[in-house]
Each structure stands twice: as C-alpha cells, then as structure tokens.
C-alpha cells in the first residue's frame, strides 16, 4: 500500500481521535474537537458517548453539526435533556470523562482564553467568550485541547483566563480545590503534547510525520520543551483518512443548504 497524502489539519484531527476510547463519555466542543470525536466514533470507538452542551446525550450525527444544537444531534441522540440538567447532572455531576476544547489562545500550562484579545474592559478583539468551557475545564475528569499552532495562539501569557488549566503549573489546581486532572493532552497540527508530571508544562511527546522540532518552536510563542524520547505520530491510515474526508464532504454539502 502506498502511504496516503494528508494535511497537517487532517493529522491533527486523526491524532486527536485516537486519544479517545470506546468507553469515554466526551463533552464535545464545536470545531476541531467535534470532528475528532466523530472520527473516533466512526473508526475505533463505535460506542463512545458524545455529549453536546445543547443537551444531546449519546449522539451520532451523520454530518458534523455547524452549531452545538443542530437538529441532527437530537435526531440521533439516546436522549436530549434541558440545558440546566446538562450542566448540573452530567457535567458538574462528574460523569464526563473527557472534556474536549478548542482555544483562541493557550499558554504552556493549558490555560485557555476565548474571551478577549487585549484588555477586558477595552478589548482589541472581542471574542465569543467562555460558553461552557470554564466549567468543562474544571468538572470534566480530564481535558483534551486541540488547536492549530501559531505564535498568536500559543502565547507566553494569555490575555484572559477564560478556562483554568494548570494555572501557574505544579499543584495550582489542587491549591484551588479543583479535584479533576485538567488538561492532560494537547494535540496540534504538528505534535502531541502532554503535561510534565511535576511542572505541568505541556511537553512535546510525539512529532507528526515529517515535522521538525524547529517547526514546532517557530509556531509557538513559548520556549518549547521536548520529552526525552520524542516519538513520531503514526501517519493516518487509509481508513482514518477516508472516514474524515467523507465526513467533511457530507458536512460541507449539508451546510451549504438547498
């Protein structure tokens, strides 16, 4: 078999999908997380439970939703609950194994900003805000983050702490009384990162095929740490790639409308 060609973005989505297990209960953010979660469901994790904050539990959409509340999510869900129940019984209740978030800005400790660029009261750019993320970040048993690398997105200091990751690192979460693990995985278009067990700084543990350490550093606003034995991410399989591309094509056709 010839090796399939793939884009960095495809590699990112597929690497993220592989991190999800068949018995995970996943609170799915929109965008890259949604694609990754559904690829997992369509490949190695058919029984994964996907939950969107609109209240849809155990959903299995045929196309990716544009919003977190598209009709497809309800049509294919095991059940759909009111939004207060979603945040109380399911998220705050501790039943989510993986909260899967995107980010506009992130720092090396997995703290996320999706609120403002610049000052809160007089912002340069007003972003959408936190939505479900502040509590997804602290009530999910673990948090996975995915974003495409850039110096604007991966910064030494974020402008606003929308969602708490590991704070200043170390035992900062424990000191705030937060009893969940927080960000345990960061998947970018170039690499897979995991927090250092002690400092909690995100550290590159695997480079995607063909990616160099310099490329990772050049697209990251902080000085990157690499693990001792950095691995190479296995390239997408033909099945993974075909599944992703089919999903994207179906999705694009559906969102363009009649």
């Amino acid at each position: 078999m010839s090796k399939p060609e793939f884009t960095p973005n495809e590699m990112m989505t597929i690497a993220a999908s592989r991190a999800l297990k068949n018995d995970d209960v996943c609170f799915v953010g929109i965008g890259a997380p949604s694609a990754a979660c559904n690829i997992a469901r369509l490949t190695h994790a058919p029984d994964i439970t996907l939950i969107y904050e609109s209240g849809t539990i155990g959903t299995a959409p045929d196309v990716l939703p544009l919003s977190i509340g598209d009709g497809e999510l309800c049509d294919t869900a095991l059940t759909t609950v009111p939004v207060p129940e979603m945040f109380r019984y399911w998220l705050q209740g501790g039943r989510i194994t993986i909260g899967f978030l995107g980010a506009a800005q992130i720092d090396k400790y997995g703290n996320i900003n999706t609120t403002v660029i610049g000052d809160y009261d007089c912002p340069k750019t007003r972003l959408p805000g936190g939505g479900g993320a502040p509590e997804i970040a602290t009530s999910s048993q673990e948090v996975y983050i995915t974003l495409a690398q850039s110096k604007r997105g991966m910064v030494e200091k974020i402008d606003f702490y929308t969602s708490f990751g590991h704070g200043d690192g170390g035992d900062h979460r424990e000191r705030l009384g937060i009893d969940t693990k927080g960000p345990t995985l960061l998947i970018t278009d170039l690499a897979i990162w995991k927090p250092d067990p002690v400092t909690k700084e995100f550290t590159v543990v695997s480079l995607h095929p063909g990616v160099t350490r310099d490329q990772v550093q050049e697209t990251c606003g902080w000085s990157v740490e690499f693990a001792d034995g950095v691995e190479e991410t296995p390239p997408p399989t033909e099945l993974e790639l075909a599944t992703l591309r089919d999903l994207k094509a179906r999705t694009e056709a559906a969102h363009k409308g009649a």
Binding site: S54, G55, C74, Q92, T125, G130, A133, E135
Partner: protein, 284 residues
Amino acid sequence: MARFVPLSQAVAENLGNGDSVAFEGFTHLIPTAAAHESIRQGFRDLTLIRMTPDVVYDQMIGMGLARKLIFSYAGNPGVGLLRRLRDAVENGFPHKLEIEEHSHAAMANAYEAGAAGLPCAIFRGYRGAELARVNPNIKFIECPFTGESLAAVPALRPDVTFIHAQKADRKGNVLVEGIVGIQKEAALAAKRAVVTVEEVVDDFSDLHPNLTILPHWTVTDIAVVPGGAHPSYTHGYYARDNAEYLKWDKIAADRDLFRDWMQKNVLDATPEDFAGRVEKLRDA
C-alpha cells in the same frame, strides 16, 4: 391565562423601553420573528438576556435597541464572531453597550433559580476563571456542611421572555420538544411569557406524559407565526438554515450592508414572511 393575539400586539403589549428581556432558544427554536417585530417597533434601552446571543441579538444590538447584554457565549455558532456586537463593544457603535458576562453553567443555573423562585443559584463553577474578577455578580459562598467554596450568581428574572415552540393547543398550553434548551426555565422565570408557535392544534391528548409543556396559565400571550424561528429551526417542522448563518458573517461585517439587509428583511417585512423562508427547509 394565555391569549391568542397577533405578534405585533403581543410584542407591543408585553415589551417596553428599558425592560429586561430574554429571547431564548439554544440554537433550536430561536424566536426570530418576535425579535424582528421588536426591532420594527423600535424599542430602546433594553437589557438583552441570553446564553447565546446569536444572530438575532447581533441584529438588535446593531439596530441600537440594547443598553446592556447579559450573556455567556457571544458567537455565531460554528461560524465565528458576532460583528455588530463586536462593533458595539470595541467601538461603541451604534452606542456603548454594557455587558454582564457569565459562563453557560452560571446562566443555566441562574434561569433555573429564577424559575424556582429563588434569589440566587449556587454551583461548582468559575474555579480559576477570570470572569469572577470582572463581573461583580459572581460571588462565592461557603457550603454550611463541608466548607467548600461554591460560586453564586443572582437568579435571572426577565420582565419578558419570548420563546418559539412547536405548537399550542386551543386552551393555550404550549408544547416544546427536541432540543428544549433553557426555554421552559426562561419562560417560568419571567414576569410575562410570550410564545410564538408553528401551529395551533385541537388538543395534546395523544402525547407522551412527560413532554415539556407550559400550561396555559404560565403563558401571557401566544402568536401563531409559521417559520418564526428561521434561520434557526423547529424540530419536526423545518431544518436549520446553516447557509444563512454562514451568510450572516459577511452581512454583519459591514455597517452599510447590515443596515440595508435589516431594512429589506426586517423593517420592511412582516411576521407572515417567515413561512416562505422555511419552505425549502421543510422535511422532504
């Protein structure tokens, strides 16, 4: 006790300048027709409340109806930013907009507390989150049994809540199904609740016993507006017009383009126009 009235009357008699008002709908069942009617009637100084302000609040803010916004996610879901809202926050156009920003969990709990007649909600939230620094309506209390610090927010009690629903029966009981979102709580939390519906049916007698129903004595007024949620959708009636959401990103990016679009599609339009907009989105 619910009255059946035209939408223009329902808006005129329930909304007033300076009111706090929620047009709720969590992606599904957004009461677009009611929002457009409010724009046509030209209200001012509204406090707009909504978890996901979305396109309709972008329109209301852009048209200058809002003095304050209470919200938890100000995006065009899956598309990007709300550009009229940005223009108001970043540039004070068309005028300054006060904001009170929360997380979804906080807003959901605050509506729930409003429906439950409580002055506040407590929840395990805002831990390490900076919103607690910039929003004075986020406080912390101690659990009297464990000593744990819990977030507290004031209950939401809008003067008026507008929602869109599938149907009413002839007595004015209202049925909501599918992604039910926060609508029941938003309606019960409000002093006055106005519902637009796709249709009126004789009765609900063949329905499942546990469906989400607002009894007629919880509803102030009902207006029948087929298609009234467009470009949002009504489960069982028509699909979400995702293409319109994608288009909105361009319209809202330009002040003049926005104004022209509003003139044509809102100011010069009527509630009856909504039926035609969803025709192609009805289940084949």
